[in-house]
Amino acid sequence: MRSLIDIADLTVEEIDGLIATAEDIIKDPDKYAEKCRRKKLATLFYEPSTRTRLSFESAMIELGGSVIGFSEAQSSSASKGESVADTARVISCFADIIAMRHPMEGAPRVAAMNASIPVINAGDGGHNHPTQTLTDLLTIKREKGRLSHMTVGCCGDLKFGRTVHSLLEAMSRYEGVDFVLISPEELKVPEHVRTDILNAGRVKYRETESLQEAMPELDILYMTRVQRERFISEADYVRLKDTYILTPDKLETAKKDLSILHPLPRVNEISVAIDKDPRACYFRQVMNGKFIRMALIMKLLEVE
């Protein structure tokens, strides 16, 4: 029995396998329509999420399975003080697989240690969000046809942005990927990402505060939202939230085949005028999220 808590739990070969399965699902969805018949996914969401929860649920439904769960902590036994470990043990009696989102870092790991069914981390605070990373990788693969030899710019909140940390971890394992990290001083990548990934000698990277300066060299621009819920000080959030806003004029120096990704939801960091630009991939990215989650559910349930 296997869980997915951190993108590092998967080898490059396994990631490539999941991407291949997702691409096959896209090509022939009917082939997969009954793969998880009579299987149940429990979505345990202790904090609000529209995209990720619905993506998991639609993935399971399109595999022929069904879904149980809750979408906020108040409607679960957590509001009565039940521990994550106990909830995981209980849900193991009802479902075949768990997708868990929790505001506290490490909660899905605790669930995986105590559940008797696979657990998928659907986001734990500012820590990990491996299925978003798989989504990003599938999107990059589909847009560029490869996952190696490119320059990836990550822009915005690189401190609390868990999607960026996981993306750096995953992409650093592919050959010839350079990173440009674009953020204000206060939102630079945290120490553990710097030491374990960036300074581990595997990748080339540089840091800048200027999106404009970095733009011409980028093959991928990964925009992120400055997340209000990650700040303890409201004043710090207000001061930093509008640091980077992508508008059409800022794309003038960008490559013609740039791919703009965003884990969504966006607030104002990408102008809606960009949505019509063919380089904007973020809505295609959402669709990819469902397909890669289908591939992952099948893998963890060991469905052939």
């Binding site: 521990s83 994550v84 470990a85 929790h102 505001p103 506290m104 870092e105 490490g106 909660a107 790991r109 605790v110 734990d124 605070g125 500012g126 820590h127 120490e191 553990h192 030491t195 374990d196």
Partner: protein, 138 residues
């Protein structure tokens, strides 16, 4: 300074200077009824200064904990006034229930019964990280 000779007991030597009291607390030596001496800033040929703990009883030691503090620590077992064994702890791959995660966003901060677990992620630099949230042990 004179400290009484140990007949049956343990001398924990080569503790990094200034960490003897920390080790005293981690090993819960305050709970022992026997004589325990902490010598701070003793002269050391290799390091200039070191701390030493002398325990006048042979007790079970948590060698993982000693290895976490410093794998260069020496543990001397004394019986009948003679040193019968000299051991160095290994750097442990994992430490359980000793150090606590300081990250307020870690699941261990709100679920009090969870055991605090740290894993060795960088042997060269002796870096330990919380097994749940990856925060570095300080």
């Amino acid at each position: 300074m004179l400290i009484g000779t140990i007949v049956n007991g343990i001398v924990i030597d080569h503790i990094p200077a200034g960490r003897g009291m920390e080790l005293y607390r981690y090993l819960e030596l305050d709970k022992l009824d026997c004589e325990v001496a902490l010598i701070k800033n003793a002269a050391s040929g290799k390091r200039g200064k070191k701390d030493i703990l002398k325990i006048n009883e042979v007790i079970d030691l948590n060698f993982d904990l000693l290895g976490y503090i410093d794998p260069h620590i020496t543990v001397n077992i004394i019986r009948n006034g003679e040193r019968v064994e000299k051991r160095h702890p290994d750097l442990p791959d994992e430490i359980r229930g000793v150090i606590r995660c300081k990250n307020p966003r870690c699941i261990t901060s709100c679920e009090q019964e969870l055991e605090h677990v740290f894993k060795l992620t960088d042997r060269e630099h002796r870096v330990y990280r919380c097994a749940y949230c990856d925060t570095r042990a300080k």
